[in-house]
């Protein structure tokens, strides 16, 4: 699956990465990324997950052909 990351997450992990995984949950992906990128763990914990055109919760199963995005807290102005 393709994972897109924004803000600080993009800096630490990369703007776009591929993860070979089947039938994992959003929470699994979040924990996996946090384990492999300790500097992003705190921000990952405060980030929202987005698939298609919807925000999703951590129990959502993500198919290998899907794309998921993680959005850290936003700041405009």
């Amino acid at each position: 699956m393709r994972i897109r990351l924004y803000g600080r997450l993009g800096d630490v992990i990369g703007r776009e990465i591929e993860l070979a995984a089947a039938e994992v949950t959003v929470g699994d992906i979040r924990r996996s990324l946090a384990a492999s990128h300790a500097a992003a763990a705190a921000t990952l914990g405060r980030s929202r997950a987005f698939i298609g055109d919807c925000f999703v919760t951590d129990d959502r199963t993500v198919g290998d052909a899907e794309s998921i995005e993680f959005l850290p807290p936003v700041s405009g102005g």
Partner: protein
């Protein structure tokens, strides 16, 4: 009534935006605007050369539009105009223009205040200060959230 919400990848000219809003506001009695500038110094006192605004391909525009529409529905205003930069904004240059026009002054003042409070905390951007000491991601402060919470 007009509601304009724009994502601007190039330089933002507040004078042009004011001219557009004033032109739309013919017949009104008030135009109130807020212009946010890229500060040359971080909250920690470090020199900042530029602000870099990361954005989302769909959610950023949607967030600007949602805030502008909510403003138009909430206040007795005739026109709302929001223009927000993305990309690299050198220190001292405008990041955001938020303005409203109304028949009398009070709704326009309140609308501009509301716009920037929501933009600071809800517009979908990720903001990074770049200076001599590297770069630093910036999130809204407790004060920013308190300002937004005034509006319920």
């Amino acid at each position: 009534m007009s509601v304009v919400a724009l994502l601007e990848p190039q330089a933002l000219d507040p004078q042009l935006e004011l001219a557009e809003l004033t032109e739309a506001a013919r017949g009104d009695g008030a135009v109130v605007t807020f212009v946010g500038l890229a500060r040359p110094e971080s909250g920690e006192g470090n020199a900042v050369d530029a602000i870099v605004l990361d954005h989302h391909p769909t959610l950023t525009r949607q967030s600007l539009e949602a805030i502008a529409v909510a403003c138009a529905e909430r206040f007795d205003v005739s026109h709302v105009r929001v223009v927000h930069r993305c990309g690299t904004v050198p220190a001292g240059e405008p990041i955001v223009f938020a303005g409203a026009a109304s028949l009398h002054r009070r709704p326009a003042f309140e609308a501009a205040d509301y716009l920037i409070d929501r933009l600071k905390t809800e517009a979908v951007f990720w903001k990074r200060e770049v200076g001599d000491d590297g770069s630093n991601w910036v999130e809204p402060t407790e004060g920013d959230f308190a300002d937004r919470d005034r509006w319920g």
